[in-house]
Symmetry: C2
Subunit: 243 residues, 2 copies
């Protein structure tokens, strides 16, 4: 039985990949992924066959991986961050139902939430939620309910896909919902191009975040009621009792 | 200005560490951590000075790191998983206020949520929450509110610290709360010793989870309403619309 490795390559730089993922990519014949991620790792894996499909062709990309594996090639499917967090791992198992003779193994990676948190200090040190603002596959009402519950329960929150060309006002709308339960002064931050060239970050209040324009390369962090700014860092304490 | 690296070593095996974290440990003079984690990595970093403190001596461990750095040594503080997720990153910035001449830099790692998810398939592929059941630093009422809000908003949930000697019934209580909003048949799983010797996992229903005894080396996964069992794997779809 052949195995396809579904490997998270981390936020972008080769160094933030796990040793295990790098070894898997070194040992395989074919590396398959979304064009942008393949370009990020290409130079580190010379001599490999690289196959890409554009965005929104995810099912096709999965089938491509299984078909290469069926030809007897060893295959790695790559995702940015962690393959199991808004990545391809789930779809690979779903499509894999049609290819019972091929095994799928996920190799975890560093996702944007924790890579971005490391840039900022320690915003996600205690209970937190990940919420994607993309309503491509999720009704906006569901996203809205999650934002409200997360804010009411005082979770720190990390937002993925905070914006796109068609959704320029989604972050603004999300902040409006959070402000029903969270203070205007809640410590927030944006990190752009995590682990890649041009990495930038900015710490601000929730009120300021509401009027900030971000792009699809940005991850957004919203503190809980205890989160503070310590010098240039955003830090959430480990708990709510005095230590 | 000297820098202390606060490095997440991943769930346990050397191979699940990032290349960046391994390089930092190779290049430093002193590696500091909780005894168990130092023992996990020791053999891979020969010739280093290792300093440890037991559990509940976290502030002391941080001060030890800053004091070594002040002596001119290069220091790495290690945490299991990701240093920014229930790890030492936050406390290092807080204690670091007393050592302004030492810089703290967090190197992210693979946390138990995503490492355990990779073992199980893809349970956390969409929006999810991390909740610790430890009430050592957080009042139980706050944990309870978070569980209820997470269940009502249909998040997938990953539970850290689901049990300890003093808290044997906490997972049972947590499941009781989740069952107010989630079906008894919700797909759940436990993973023990992620990435370490004796790794085990078991997929079950929420009803079964309620009566399952786990220990402190276990991470618990609760699916959302869409999560399914596909063969031996636990998979959450990417969204709620038909694709």
């Amino acid at each position: 039985m052949s195995t396809i490795y579904v490997a998270g390559i981390g936020p972008g730089s080769y160094e933030q990949m796990t040793i295990e993922a790098a070894e898997a990519l070194k040992s395989c014949d074919v590396i398959i992924g979304y064009t942008v991620y393949v370009d990020l790792v290409k130079e580190h894996f010379p001599g490999k066959e690289f196959l890409t499909t554009p965005m929104k062709k995810e099912v096709q990309r999965c089938r491509m991986a299984f078909e290469e594996a069926e030809k007897g090639k060893s295959v790695a499917m790559i995702c940015s961050g962690d393959a199991g967090v808004y990545g391809m791992a789930g779809l690979m198992y779903e499509v894999g139902q049609d290819y019972p003779q091929v095994q799928v193994k996920v190799l975890p990676g560093v996702t944007a939430a924790t890579a971005g948190a490391a840039v900022l200090g320690a915003p996600l040190i205690h209970d937190f939620c990940l919420i994607s603002l993309s309503d491509l596959l999720t009704p906006w009402e569901k996203i809205e309910a999650r934002l409200l519950h997360a804010a009411e329960a005082d979770f720190a929150i990390c937002l993925y896909n905070p914006s796109s060309k068609k959704r320029k006002d989604y972050l603004n709308r999300a902040c409006g919902l959070l402000l029903r339960y969270q203070s205007e002064d809640t410590v927030c931050a944006v990190v752009r191009n995590i682990g890649r060239e041009g990495e930038q970050n900015q710490i601000m209040t929730l009120k300021e975040l509401q009027n900030t324009q971000v792009d699809m390369f940005t991850t957004v962090f919203i503190g809980n009621s205890q989160t503070k700014k310590l010098g240039d860092y955003m830090v959430t304490p480990r708990g709510y009792k005095d230590v």
